[in-house]
C-alpha cells in the first residue's frame, strides 16, 4: 500500500491510473449493452450524437457508444493475451539465458536479437494473410505474443545477471536448492516489478499492432476492436462525410489508452530505478 501511496505522488501515475479506470469501466459496460455487437442495422444509420445515441450511430446501423465499449474490451483482451503469454516466454528465456549462460545464453539471445532486427511488421502481415480465416481474439493474441518477448527477455536476463552477483545465490547453491526451485524462489520476487512494467509496455505495443493490422483488413472484421472500428469508419468515408463521432471515437479512445499505459509504465519504472526508463517503441 505504501508503494501505491508513493506512486500516487507522481501526477503521471495518478492521471494514467484514473484514465485506465475509466476505460476499464467502459469495457465493463459492454456486458450491459442493449445491442449485439455483430448485428447490423440495430439502430438507424448515420445519426449524430443525441440523448438517445450518446455517440451517434454508424453506417452499419450500430450504436457507436456501445460498439466502443466492446472495442475497448476486445482490444484489452487481445493485449492481455499477448502480454501475458509473451511474459511467460520472456521470463523463461530471460531466466534460462541469464542463469545458464554459455552457449544456451548465446543462442537464445541471438534468436531474440534477430526478432528485434527483422521487420516484424512485414512478417506479421504475411502470417495474418495466411491465417486470416481463423482469426479471432485468441489467435491474434498468440500471434502477437510470439513476437513480443525479445526485448523484455533481454531486460530480465540482465536483471538475473546482476542478481547472480549477489551473495544469496551462492548460499542457495551451497544449500543444494534445485535450479528451478531456486530460480522461482530467489529470483521471481525481484523480477516481479520488472515483469509488471514490461507487461504494460507490451500491452500497448500489442494494441498498436492490432490496430495497424486491422486497418489493413488483416483481422476478423466482425469482431469489434479499436482497430476494426476505425477501419469501418475509414472504409465508409467517415472523414469525407464529416462523421466525426464515428471516426473520432476509436482515435480518441486509443490515444488515451496509449498515453495512459505509457505514463503508467514510465512512472513505475522510474519508481523502481530512477536512472532507467524502459526504452521500447510502439509499432
Amino acid at each position: 500500500m505504501k508503494v501505491f501511496k508513493d506512486l500516487f505522488r507522481d501526477y503521471r501515475f495518478a492521471l494514467s491510473f484514473c484514465v485506465l479506470v475509466v476505460l476499464l469501466i467502459l469495457a465493463g459496460l459492454s456486458f450491459f449493452s442493449p445491442y449485439d455487437p455483430t448485428l447490423w442495422g440495430a439502430v438507424p444509420r448515420d445519426l449524430s450524437p443525441s440523448a438517445k445515441y450518446w455517440l451517434g450511430t454508424d453506417s452499419n446501423g450500430q450504436d457507436v457508444f456501445w460498439q466502443a465499449t466492446f472495442a475497448v474490451r476486445n482490444s484489452l483482451i487481445i493485449s492481455l493475451i499477448a502480454g501475458l503469454v509473451s511474459r511467460v516466454i520472456a521470463v523463461i528465456v530471460g531466466m534460462v539465458s541469464g542463469y545458464k549462460g554459455g552457449a544456451t545464453d548465446r543462442v537464445l539471445m541471438f534468436l531474440g536479437d534477430s526478432l528485434l532486427v527483422i521487420p516484424l511488421f512485414l512478417i506479421m502481415v504475411m502470417l495474418s494473410m495466411l491465417v486470416r480465416q481463423y482469426m479471432n481474439l485468441l489467435v491474434l493474441g498468440l500471434l502477437l505474443s510470439f513476437f513480443g518477448w525479445a526485448w523484455d527477455a533481454r531486460l530480465i536476463r540482465s536483471l538475473i545477471l546482476s542478481l547472480r552477483e549477489r551473495d544469496f545465490t551462492q548460499t542457495a547453491i551451497l544449500s543444494g536448492t534445485g535450479t528451478l526451485r531456486m530460480v522461482l524462489n530467489e529470483y521471481m520476487p525481484f523480477a516481479m516489478p520488472l515483469i509488471f512494467s514490461t507487461l504494460i509496455n507490451n500491452m500497448s505495443w500489442a494494441i498498436g499492432l492490432e490496430m495497424t493490422l486491422a486497418i489493413l483488413g488483416l483481422v476478423n472484421m466482425s469482431i469489434p476492436t479499436l482497430g476494426t472500428m476505425l477501419n469501418w469508419a475509414i472504409s465508409y468515408q467517415a472523414i469525407l462525410l464529416m462523421r466525426w463521432w464515428w471516426i473520432g471515437t476509436p482515435v480518441v479512445l486509443s490515444i488515451f489508452l496509449f498515453i495512459a499505459l505509457y505514463w503508467m509504465s514510465v512512472s513505475i519504472s522510474e519508481y523502481l530505478d530512477p536512472r532507467t526508463r524502459i526504452q521500447r517503441v510502439g509499432a
Binding site: R12, F110, L111, D113, S114, L116, V117, I118, P119, L120, F121, L122, I123, V125, M126, L127, M129, L130, V131, S204, G208, L209, M211, T212, I215, L216, G217, L218, I239, I247, V251, S254, I255, F258, I259, L261, Y262, W263, V266, R275, T276, R277, Q279, V281, G282, A283
Partner: protein, 350 residues
C-alpha cells in the same frame, strides 16, 4: 592501429585483434539473421494448413479480380513454381535460395505479368528518400535537442519539451500519422491529403516537379520526424542526465573547462555512442513505421505497394517486399555497426 613502442605501458591492440573481436562476430550475426529471416519467410506459407496455390487463387477471386483461363493456368504454374511445390521441402528450399541469389522474386499476381523486382524498383526511391531524410533529421534533431534538454534539465523549456515527448512517444505510427492527416490536411487543409505528387504529373527534373514532390512529402515526413524525434529526444535526454553525473564531466567542471566545451565534447559526444547502437537496433521499427506512414498518406513507396498487395491478395509481392526488406535492413544495421568504431576509440584499440 598497431601500438608503437611502449614506454607508456599502452595495452596491445592490433588490427587483427579488432577484426577478430569486433568485425567477424558482426559479419556472422549479419549472415545468420538473413538466413533465419529468409528461412522463416520460406516456411511461413508452408506451415499453414491449406494449399497456398488454391488459397491465393481464392483470394484473388474473392477480391474480384477477373482472370481469363489462359492467365489462370499461367498463374497456377507460376504459383506452383514460386512455392516450389514440386519435389521435397529441401529441394524447394534450395530452389528458393537459388532464385533469390539471382535477384528474382517471381511475378506479381495482381499486376500479372509484371515482375516483383520491377514494382519494388519503382516504389523504392520514394521510400528511400523519405526514410533517409526523416531518419537523418529525427536522429540529429532529437539528439541535439534531447542533449541540451538533458544538460539543462531544470530549465522550464526542457520540461515542456519532455511533456510533449511523453504525449507523442507512446502513439503508434498509424495513429500519429492519421491524427496529423486529420488535423493538418482535413481540418485546417494546409497540406495535400494524399499521394506523392499531383495526379497527372510526369516525372521530370523541373523545379515545378521537385516543388510538388517536396510539398506532398511534407506531411508524411513531418509525422516521421516528430515521432522518431520524440523517441530520440527522450532516450538522449536520459542518457545525458546519466553522463552528466559521470566523473569525467564533474572533473572537467571542477577544472573550469568552459561550458560549451563540456556540453559538446564531454557530455553529448559520449552520450551519442549508445544512440548509434540504439539507431542500429531500432532501424527495423523505423522502417516498418515508414511503411505504415506511407499507407496513411498513400505515398507511392513500398508501404503503399504493400497495402495494394494486401488488398489484392498478392502474396508473392508481399513476400518479395519482405525478403527485400530483410536484406536492406540487416545491411543498414551492419553499416551502422561498422561505423561505430569510428566514434569509440575503446572499440578501435583494445
Amino acid at each position: 592501429m598497431p601500438a608503437q613502442g611502449d614506454p607508456v605501458g599502452r595495452k596491445e591492440g592490433s588490427a587483427l585483434a579488432f577484426v577478430k573481436r569486433y568485425l567477424i562476430p558482426r559479419l556472422i550475426q549479419y549472415f545468420l539473421v538473413i538466413f533465419l529471416g529468409i528461412t522463416a519467410v520460406f516456411f511461413i506459407p508452408r506451415m499453414t494448413p491449406n494449399d497456398p496455390v488454391q488459397r491465393t487463387l481464392q483470394e484473388m477471386k474473392a477480391r474480384g479480380s477477373y482472370l481469363d483461363p489462359g492467365t489462370m493456368d499461367e498463374i497456377i504454374a507460376d504459383l506452383t513454381e514460386m512455392y516450389g511445390l514440386g519435389g521435397s521441402w529441401l529441394d524447394q528450399y534450395f530452389a528458393f535460395w537459388g532464385r533469390l541469389f539471382q535477384g528474382d522474386f517471381g511475378v506479381s499476381f495482381f499486376q500479372f505479368p509484371t515482375r516483383v523486382n520491377v514494382l519494388i524498383n519503382i516504389a523504392l526511391p520514394w521510400t528511400l528518400g523519405l526514410l533517409l531524410t526523416t531518419t537523418f533529421f529525427s536522429w540529429t534533431l532529437g539528439n541535439i535537442i534531447g542533449g541540451l534538454a538533458g544538460y539543462y534539465a531544470r530549465r522550464s523549456w526542457s520540461r515542456v519539451l519532455d511533456t510533449v515527448a511523453m504525449i507523442v512517444r507512446p502513439l503508434p505510427y498509424y495513429i500519429f500519422s492519421f491524427g496529423m492527416l486529420l488535423l493538418l490536411a482535413y481540418v485546417v487543409r494546409w497540406f495535400p491529403v494524399s499521394g506523392g505528387m499531383e495526379i497527372g504529373r510526369t516525372v521530370s527534373f523541373s523545379w515545378e516537379f521537385i516543388k510538388d514532390v517536396l510539398w506532398h512529402s511534407v506531411l508524411p515526413a513531418l509525422s516521421l520526424v516528430i515521432l522518431g524525434g520524440a523517441v530520440m529526444f527522450q532516450t538522449m535526454k536520459l542518457i545525458v542526465q546519466n553522463v552528466n553525473a559521470e566523473n569525467f564531466v564533474q572533473y572537467a567542471k571542477l577544472g573550469g573547462v568552459t561550458e560549451s566545451r563540456i556540453v559538446g565534447k564531454y557530455v553529448i559526444r559520449n552520450a551519442l555512442l549508445p544512440q548509434i547502437t540504439g539507431l542500429a537496433l531500432s532501424l527495423g521499427q523505423i522502417f516498418s513505421g515508414a511503411l505504415i506512414t506511407e499507407i496513411v498518406f498513400s505515398y507511392p513507396g513500398l508501404g503503399t505497394l504493400l497495402y495494394n498487395a494486401i488488398i489484392t491478395g498478392d502474396y508473392n509481392l508481399i513476400m518479395g517486399i519482405t525478403v527485400f526488406s530483410i536484406f536492406a535492413i540487416t545491411t543498414a544495421i551492419l553499416i551502422v555497426d561498422l561505423t561505430y568504431p569510428l566514434f569509440d576509440p575503446r572499440v578501435r584499440y583494445n
